[in-house]
Subunit: 219 residues, 2 copies
Amino acid sequence: MSQKIVLVEDDDDIREIVLYALHQAGFEALGFASGAGVLVHPVPDLYILDIMLPDEDGLSILKKIRGVSSVPVIMLTAKGSEHDKVKGLDLGADDYIAKPFGVMELISRIKALLRRSGGVQKELALSHGGITIDHAKRQVLASGTPVALTFKEYELLHYLMTNKGIALSRDKIVDVVWGYDFEGESRTVDMHIKSLRQKLGMAGEHIKTLRGVGYKLGE
Amino acid sequence: MSQKIVLVEDDDDIREIVLYALHQAGFEALGFASGAGVLVHPVPDLYILDIMLPDEDGLSILKKIRGVSSVPVIMLTAKGSEHDKVKGLDLGADDYIAKPFGVMELISRIKALLRRSGGVQKELALSHGGITIDHAKRQVLASGTPVALTFKEYELLHYLMTNKGIALSRDKIVDVVWGYDFEGESRTVDMHIKSLRQKLGMAGEHIKTLRGVGYKLGE
DNA sequence: TATTTGTGTAAAGTTTTTGTAAATTCTATC
DNA sequence: GATAGAATTTACAAAAACTTTACACAAATA
């Protein structure tokens, strides 16, 4: 089970080089050229963010990440002068690396951070396929935007998310979410699945129907 | 817990960009397009003043501020030539930044000033969405005006404020604020939430109802 | 292809939950 | 113990959520 790293870097060359090196080092690495789409992606084990990006700057992405998770973040800063300033600011990232940097150094810092954080890393939010559920806040984000769910909808999604990839029968779902067995047949579960899919929009497609069995979130 | 910054800058674009960056950096920032209204507002932790303003220039605002407070002030100066002149005069501001400036640099200087002036920032008051609760003074402000709360109302608000963004069940609220469990059903919590919302006026809308769960402040 | 079985979904009907005014009980203070 | 203000309960209206029904549609089966 290799660890996942998301890299956000607009310079194509740098991105390709770093991704290649990360793969060589045994990480599962995914690159983005801009902030768009980053937060739709499930939360990885570590982020590497360029502080200067075309659309949205690295800091604003950092803020959003920190809103849902305390996953380690490494910021890439441009020039020497800016680097010291940013580093001194302590904006909430775990490490700052000045460009140009050696790939080996980057990887060694990544490993250090993962070692350090791996211990008591408490994930605040569950994530999958653009869906994020923060149980403390009782808040759900689909593709980055908040979604208002009713009580049962939320409970159902939470159950699916905590069992992502697992096939769940209607009986099991009813037991867990409703807490008792319905008598006859009813479309209640289907009904709530429908509402969920609808409210989650695009991301709702990750809720799969298993004909004759029940439902499943993701692969 | 966040520090307040007032920005006076007539250029809409610059004002928006800087305000955005300040918010991203975790400050509570408020912008004015001209000098009017600035001094009516409560004194923040730091001012940023453009030296060239339509009605009243930044220097006269600076004078007035210095008349009542020694709060840090950063002046924004236009071009290179003027910058040096102003800087050499030492007009009483704590720092001078020439336009165009990098937002990162501005924020770094702000932090430096706040660190220097405030020492260790003693944060007495919690703030969110126009509601301020100063536990030392046991005083609550809603949209800037004092609100008289009863004991239970205050305790309830304080609990909500210290857990802003967190979903709180009625049981939890009762445990913490009332200290014991009610027997049967009762509308007591709802009742106090209602009074709070009423007394807080506009700002009361930040207390959200989570149907089937409880309540939550903000987010 | 025809049939059967299972699922999606809109809409109606029912239940649950919350908001709120008013009545009642409690508590501190004089 | 009288009184005023606060806290709690009661009762009901309003709003929101939940379940069921009914039927269309899709997939599996014969």
